[in-house]
């Protein structure tokens, strides 16, 4: 499925290769704080040179997982392997990982230069080498002229770069980024996302990023692990996560989606194999050409993204597509898109998004209009979890 979905950034998918050895392996990791289970029996493989995201709401355990890799927390159960070696009990100052902190954690009493050199000094490198490496890092993040400044003499964006340079200076095998862009404004954040990808690509390092921002995760990652309550719900590429979420939770967490609960009425093929499935959602019959892990009579959810739902005043000619009839209840104008909220006869709301392709549209559809919503058989999803 991965091959057919979405634009591929680069030919890089070690996770599909069964012989590939994971670079980092979380093996049945559990972490408890008193009665609270932050991470619950979690297993995850991350490969070399991968840009990997841990995505989830606050409290889902993503930060704890990262802190265990950095060595600030020890797992209650399970073990963490780095290049096949168990790193339990290795203190943070002896691990080949470096972290970029959410607050940046720049040492306020040291200049930018000294901050970047700090890690190198710990390794007792010769002075000349440290100076050269600091120079190189300053150049990488384009802060050469700020070397002698103290952190509080820098803007937020500049501090972020210093933090990045400091964590990269030791050339860690894995760079951990804890909400690295959370403190930046939207525009700067988007720019920086691309810079991060660039740097990762140039240096050929493994990046592990923790974020609650789904757009950020979608933009930068090779793969995303969506987490909830200490477990991983789905690990997949951004395109798969968006187009083929494996559960109601993932579908709902990433992007906008219409979800209806229903019961499977007929399945055309065997479990899991492609084929047409029809579902009865409280009186509305929908068909999906996807196949699913369900047999007739099973309770499932049907989901379709708003941008895949077309809206028209007339009933679609092609009767094989899914179609529902309703009244336009509200319209949200977002500039690039307009979202139509259509109320069905039974008061359920279905959302349809339409790109505003031309500048001056004399809107054919407005509040109170009776409209048809329709979508092809391959647009929707069956969610069994």
């Amino acid at each position: 499925m991965a091959k057919t979905l979405g634009p591929v950034k680069r030919k890089f998918s070690p996770w599909t290769d069964p012989s590939a050895v994971p670079f980092i392996r979380f093996e049945n990791i559990t972490k408890r704080f008193g009665d609270f289970t932050a991470v619950d029996n979690l297993t995850l493989d991350i490969y070399e040179r991968e840009f990997f995201s841990l995505l989830g709401p606050s409290g889902c355990g993503k930060t704890t997982l990262m802190r265990m890799l950095a060595g600030f927390e020890e797992p209650t159960e399970g073990r963490i392997l780095l290049q096949g070696k168990d790193i339990s009990g290795v203190p943070p100052y002896r691990r080949p990982t470096n972290m970029m902190f959410q607050s940046y954690a720049l040492f306020p009493h040291m200049t930018v230069e000294k901050n970047i050199a700090f890690g190198l000094q710990q390794d007792k490198l010769p002075k000349g080498e440290i100076a050269a490496r600091v120079e190189e890092m300053l150049k990488l993040v384009k802060l050469e002229q700020f070397a002698k400044r103290k952190p509080n003499q820098l803007s937020g964006g500049q501090r972020q770069r210093v933090a990045l340079a400091r964590s990269l200076a030791k050339r860690p095998q894995v760079l951990l980024l804890d909400e690295p862009l959370g403190a930046l404004d939207k525009k700067l954040r988007e720019e920086t996302q691309f810079e991060l990808m660039d740097i990762q690509h140039t240096l050929g390092l493994t990046f592990l990023i923790v974020t609650h921002d789904q757009e950020e995760a979608m933009t930068v990652s090779d793969r995303i692990a969506v987490m909830d309550k200490g477990v991983i719900v789905q690990v997949a590429t951004p395109a798969e996560i968006y187009e083929a979420p494996n559960s109601r939770y993932v579908a709902d967490f990433i992007g906008d989606i219409n979800i209806f609960e229903g019961t499977v009425t007929t399945t055309e093929s065997a479990l899991g194999a492609p084929g047409k499935v029809t579902i009865d959602c409280d009186g509305i019959a929908v068909a999906v050409e996807q196949g699913c892990q369900a047999v007739s009579g099973d309770k499932v959810a049907f989901a379709v993204r708003p941008e895949k739902v077309r809206i028209s005043p007339d009933q679609p000619a092609d009767t094989s597509v899914n179609a529902v009839h309703g009244e336009v209840w509200d319209i949200g104008y977002l500039g690039d898109f307009s979202v139509f909220l259509v109320k069905l006869a039974d008061d359920r709301i279905v959302r349809a998004a339409q790109a505003n392709v031309s500048r001056l549209v004399d809107r054919p559809i407005t509040f109170g209009d009776m409209v048809w919503l329709h979508w092809p058989l391959d647009a929707g999803l069956v969610l069994t979890r």
């Binding site: 100052y93 691990r95 470096n98 902190f101 890690g119 710990q122 964590s167 700067l188």
Partner: protein, 273 residues
């Protein structure tokens, strides 16, 4: 703005109440007359008598040494205690520990002094210079702990984690990152400890022995005999020293504040890249 006039009156009266007695005391230290109520003209006579009063000078020297030594030990222990309070959430007897830190702050001095004395007698230690130091260290460390604790509570722990993450071992991290950043609070704690030690009469009286008469004990024994301008003179010198210290401290915090504001201008001025 009726309320602001009320506020101004209140503040004027309040500060007058706080400062007039001290000002009178200072002024009368320069009085040529021995009588408090009679102004006999300006004179430094009492400073001369004070200077040649060997007992008083000895006591001042003892007090200074007690102050420096006990404030220093108290600052080390108090800083450790603050770290314990803030950084160790669970260890046996944590409740007892925080109780032991807060209780001496309000404990009547007669109780602390008496109990200390009985301890020294029970273990058979001769009272003197070092018993006073132990007693002063014990109560001043609690004040230091409170001062340093409030700084540590706002300390961003990810700074220490960043140092560890960059390969710096814990003890080195404490000395290169934590200590330099909390140092102003540690200094403030030391100054507080020193002043408290300098001031103390009751606990010193209980724990002192022959040859370790502190200045407050000396002053107290003379005051009981009546007001003498000589005492005014030494009090004036103490007040002067404290005032200079406080002024220097406040100027340096003002400077730091100014520098911080300039830095912020610099950060905003060059803008985001």
């Amino acid at each position: 703005m009726k309320s602001s006039r009320f506020d101004a009156t209140v503040l004027t009266l309040g500060f007058a109440f706080l400062y007039i007695p001290i000002i009178i005391l200072v002024v009368y230290s320069f009085n040529a007359s021995r009588l408090v109520t009679v102004w006999g003209g300006f004179s430094l006579h009492w400073y001369q008598t004070m200077w040649s009063n060997e007992g008083l000078m000895d006591a001042a020297w003892v007090t200074a040494r007690v102050g420096v030594i006990s404030a220093t030990i108290g600052t080390v222990l108090g800083t450790l205690a603050a770290l314990t309070l803030v950084r160790f959430s669970r260890f046996p007897g944590r409740m007892l520990f925080s109780g032991m830190i807060y209780a001496p702050l309000v404990m009547p001095e007669v109780i602390t002094g008496l109990s200390m004395l009985l301890l020294f007698v029970a273990v058979g230690v001769d009272r003197g210079f070092w018993t006073v130091i132990i007693a002063h260290t014990t109560f001043t460390m609690c004040y230091v702990a409170i001062v340093v604790q409030s700084r540590l509570l706002t300390f961003d722990r990810s700074l220490e984690e960043a140092a560890l993450d960059l390969g710096c071992p814990p003890v080195k991290t404490f000395f290169t990152i934590t200590l330099p950043l909390i140092f102003p609070a540690v200094v403030a704690g030391w100054m507080l400890a020193f002043t408290l030690s300098l001031d103390d009469l009751v606990i010193s009286s209980f724990t002192t022995g022959p040859g370790a008469t502190t200045l407050p004990i000396k002053i107290y024994s003379q005051v009981r005999l009546g007001v003498t301008p000589e005492i005014n003179a030494i009090c004036t010198i103490l007040i002067g020293l404290v005032t200079i210290g406080v002024i220097i401290a406040s100027i340096s915090t003002k400077r730091a504040e100014l520098r911080r504001q300039q830095d912020e201008h610099l950060a905003v001025g060059r803008g985001a890249t």
